[in-house]
C-alpha cells in the first residue's frame, strides 16, 4: 500500500517537475543556511580559541573603551600615556607591561602599495612577551636592535602574500615616505592578527602617525601570580590616570567569554535568518500543494470515483509534501556541507585554518535537520491535503 502510494507520488511529482524543484529549492536555501551555521560555528569557535591561546595564558590585555565594544575605543583613537602603562610594572605580580600601538598604513614595496595592519611596541619587552608567551619565533633574520632604528619585521603571510614579490630579509619597504629595512620575518602561527601584520617599534609608529601614546598594552604576569587579582590591581591603578576614562582589562578567561558571547549573538542572528527562510520555504510548499490540489481537483474526483478513501487522498498529498520537504532537506544538507567546505577552503587561503572538517560533522544534528524538514513538508501539506480529501467526488469531477 505505502509502496504503491510512494510510486504514485513520485510519478505525480515528476509530471510537474519544474514547480516541484522550485519548491524544493525554497527549502534547500533555508536548510543550507542552517547547515553552514551548524558546521562552521564549532570551527569558528575553535579558531578563535586558538587565537586566544596564542595570546598566552599569562597575559592581560588593556585597551580603551568598554569591554563589550572594544572597536569603538580603537576607532576613537584614544591613547594611553606610555608612562601610565609602564608604571603598571610596579604592581606586585606584574612581570612586564608592554605598551602597544596599532595602526593601518599604506606600505610600498617593489612599486606596489598595499594597506596593512601594523603592530607596534617597545622591542625589547615585546620580543620577550612574543617569544615566551605567544610562541612567536623568527623564521629568518633578527629582531630590531632598538626602538630608534627604521627597521620592520614581517608576519609570515604579510611577507609571503601581501605583495606579488615575496618580501625577504634585507629588502626595503617605504611607509609614509620613510624607508624601512626588513630585518626579519616570523614563522606561521595560523593567526591573522600575527601572521598578516608587520611590526615596528612604538616610537616609529608614533612618528609615522604623528600621535604619541599607546592604544593598548600587554601585561605579562609573574609565574604563579593570581591573574584575576593582578587584573583588579591594574584596573585600580589605571583608574587614577586621567587620559582615558573607559578602558577594559581583558584576561584570557574574560576574552573567552566575551568572544563566546559575540559568536553566540552572530549565530543566533544567522539562525533566525535561516529559520525565517525555512518558514518561507514551508509557505512555498503550502502554496505548491494548494495549487496542486486545485490543479488536480478533477483527478481527486476520479480517484475517489474509483474507490480512493479520504484517507488515501490525504496520504497521497501528505506523502508528496513530506517528500518535497525531505528532498529539500537532503539537498540542503549536501549543499550546506559543500558551501561550508568551500568557505573553509577560501578562509584557509586567507590564513584561517580548520574552520571545517568532515570528521567533526554533527551527524545527529544533520539527522534532526532532515527530520525537521520532513515535518515541515508534512505540516505545510496538511491544510491543502485536507481540503483535497474532503471534496465530494461529484463536485471534484465537475471541476475543469
Amino acid at each position: 500500500m505505502l509502496k504503491n502510494f510512494l510510486i504514485l507520488t513520485l510519478k505525480s511529482i515528476r509530471c510537474r517537475s519544474t514547480r516541484s524543484w522550485l519548491t524544493i529549492l525554497g527549502i534547500v536555501i533555508g536548510v543550507m543556511l542552517v547547515v553552514i551555521i551548524l558546521t562552521l560555528s564549532s570551527g569558528i569557535k575553535n579558531t578563535i580559541a586558538g587565537a586566544l591561546q596564542t595570546f598566552g595564558s599569562d597575559l592581560i590585555i588593556i585597551f580603551p573603551g568598554k569591554e563589550n565594544n572594544p572597536i569603538v575605543g580603537f576607532l576613537a583613537g584614544q591613547k594611553f600615556k606610555e608612562r601610565d602603562l609602564v608604571d603598571l610594572e610596579k604592581i606586585n605580580g606584574v612581570k612586564s607591561a608592554v605598551p602597544m600601538g596599532i595602526g593601518n598604513l599604506n606600505i610600498e614595496y617593489n612599486g606596489e602599495v598595499k594597506s596593512i595592519m601594523i603592530h607596534a611596541a617597545n622591542w625589547k619587552k615585546y620580543v620577550e612577551v612574543l617569544e615566551s608567551s605567544q610562541g612567536i619565533k623568527l623564521e629568518n633574520g633578527r629582531w630590531p636592535e632598538n626602538d630608534d632604528v627604521s627597521e620592520v619585521v614581517f608576519g609570515h603571510l604579510a611577507a609571503k602574500t601581501l605583495f606579488k614579490k615575496e618580501v625577504g630579509v634585507g629588502d626595503e619597504v617605504i611607509i609614509k615616505s620613510k624607508r624601512f629595512k626588513v630585518v626579519g620575518n616570523l614563522t606561521e602561527i595560523g593567526e591573522q592578527m600575527i601572521d598578516n601584520v608587520i611590526f615596528v617599534s612604538l616610537d616609529m609608529l608614533g612618528s609615522l602617525t604623528d600621535s604619541r601614546g599607546a592604544s593598548s598594552a600587554l601585561v605579562k604576569i609573574m609565574p604563579g601570580a593570581n591573574i584575576n587579582l593582578v587584573a583588579q590591581q591594574i584596573k585600580f591603578q589605571l583608574s587614577k590616570q586621567e587620559v582615558i576614562r573607559d578602558f577594559s582589562i581583558l584576561t584570557p578567561d574574560k576574552a573567552d567569554r566575551l568572544i563566546d558571547n559575540i559568536i553566540s549573538i552572530v549565530e543566533l542572528v544567522l539562525m533566525i535568518i535561516a529559520l525565517v527562510s525555512l518558514v518561507v520555504g514551508a509557505v512555498g510548499i503550502m502554496n505548491t500543494m494548494y495549487t496542486s490540489v486545485l490543479e488536480r481537483t478533477k483527478q481527486i474526483g476520479v480517484m475517489k470515483a474509483i474507490g480512493a478513501s479520504d484517507d488515501a487522498i490525504l496520504s497521497l498529498f501528505l506523502i508528496e509534501s513530506g517528500f518535497i520537504g525531505l528532498v529539500g532537506g537532503i539537498l540542503g544538507i549536501f549543499f550546506g556541507i559543500l558551501s561550508a567546505y568551500i568557505i573553509s577552503l577560501a578562509a584557509a587561503g586567507f590564513g584561517i585554518r580548520g574552520l571545517f572538517s568532515f570528521a567533526s560533522l554533527d551527524f545527529f544534528g544533520l539527522f534532526v535537520v532532515l527530520f525537521f524538514t520532513f515535518i515541515i513538508g508534512v505540516v505545510s501539506g496538511v491544510l491543502p491535503a485536507r481540503q483535497a480529501s474532503r471534496m465530494e467526488p461529484a463536485e471534484a469531477l465537475r471541476y475543469e
Binding site: N4, A305, I306, E392, A394, E395
Partner: protein
C-alpha cells in the same frame, strides 16, 4: 415535497411517482393494487410479479438535490423516486439539465442528496460516512465517464491498476494483461492516455471500472465522445457484461441506439422521472 396524506402511487418496477397523474394504469395482483407508468413497466411486472414486489438493488426515495451558488438555488433533483433491479440494463435519458447525471452520481455515492434516502439492497446508505461510502464505491461500483477521466501521468496499465491500490485487492499481473489482450490493447498497455485514441482510452477506462469486479457498472454517456464504430465497440462490451456476466448496467445517454437495447428506459425531466411513451414505443416496437 410530498405531503404525507397523499397516497403514493409508486411504480414498483421503475419507481416513478405517479401521484400527480390521473390516467394511471393499475392492476390487481394477489389482492394488492399496483400502479404503472405505462412505459412498459406493466409488462415487466406481469412477467415476474414476485421479483418486482421485493427489494430493488438500488432505491432512491424522494431524493432532492439542491445546488446553492450564492443566492441562487438550483433544484436539480426534485423528489426523485427510482428503482434499479439487479441484472438490469437501465438506460437513463432526458434533456441536458434534467438531472440524469446527478441521479447517476447519487446512485454511485459520488454525491450526497440534500434530502431523501438511498437504499442499496434494502439498506439505507444515504447517511453513511465518507469512509464507508468510499469502500462501497470501490467494491460495488465501476464508473465509466464521457471524458474517459484517465490519470494523465499514469500509463494505461497503471490507470487500470489504480483501483486495486485503493481497494487493497490483489490481481496477478498476467491476469491484468489478459484483460488488456481481450480489449485488443496489449501493445498499448505502457502508453500514456495522451498517446491513446479516444476508443482506446475508453476501453482502458472500462478495464479500470471492471478491475475490482463490481456488481454495478455506471456509465455517464460512455460513448458520447466516440465515433459510432468505437462507441458501438464499447457498447457491445458493456452489453456483454450485462448479459453474460450478470452485471447491472446503468447508462446515462443521449444515444437512442443504446436505449433500444435496454431492459428498462427511464426518462428524466426537471429532476424526476416522467412518462415517455415516445421513447418506449420506439424501443419496444423494434
Amino acid at each position: 415535497m410530498q405531503s404525507k396524506d397523499t397516497q403514493l402511487k409508486i411504480d414498483p418496477v421503475c419507481g416513478m411517482d405517479l401521484s400527480e397523474y390521473v390516467d394511471v394504469a393499475e392492476i390487481h395482483h394477489q389482492e394488492k393494487k399496483f400502479y404503472f407508468c405505462g412505459n412498459g413497466c406493466e409488462d415487466r411486472f406481469k412477467k415476474d410479479p414476485d421479483k418486482f414486489q421485493g427489494e430493488p438493488l438500488i432505491k432512491l426515495d424522494n431524493v432532492w438535490k439542491i445546488f446553492k451558488l450564492g443566492d441562487t438555488e438550483t433544484k436539480v433533483l426534485r423528489g426523485l423516486n427510482l428503482h434499479i433491479w439487479e441484472g438490469d440494463f437501465v438506460v437513463i435519458i432526458g434533456s441536458s439539465g434534467s438531472g440524469k447525471s446527478t441521479a447517476l452520481n447519487m446512485i454511485g455515492f459520488l454525491d450526497r442528496p440534500t434530502s431523501g434516502q438511498i437504499f442499496l439492497n434494502g439498506e439505507d446508505v444515504s447517511s453513511l460516512n465518507d469512509d464507508k461510502r468510499a469502500e462501497l464505491r470501490s467494491k460495488t461500483f465501476g464508473f465509466v465517464f464521457q471524458q474517459y477521466n484517465l490519470i494523465s501521468w499514469l500509463t494505461a496499465y497503471e490507470n487500470v491498476y489504480l483501483p486495486l491500490v485503493f481497494s487493497g485487492k490483489k490481481i496477478k499481473a498476467d491476469k491484468l494483461e489478459t484483460h488488456f489482450e481481450e480489449m485488443g490493447m496489449r501493445e498499448r498497455m505502457t502508453h500514456h492516455p495522451f498517446e491513446l485514441s479516444g476508443g482506446e482510452q475508453q476501453r482502458t477506462a472500462l478495464l479500470r471500472a471492471l478491475v475490482n469486479d463490481p456488481e454495478i457498472i455506471l456509465g455517464d454517456e460512455p460513448t458520447g465522445n466516440l465515433d459510432s464504430a468505437n462507441g458501438n465497440k464499447i457498447l457491445e462490451i458493456l452489453i456483454d457484461l450485462n448479459k453474460n456476466r450478470k452485471k447491472t448496467l446503468v447508462i446515462v445517454t443521449h444515444d437512442d441506439g443504446i436505449a433500444e437495447k435496454a431492459d428498462q428506459i427511464i426518462t428524466f425531466k426537471d429532476g424526476h422521472l416522467v412518462r415517455d411513451h415516445q421513447a418506449h414505443k420506439k424501443a419496444y416496437t423494434e
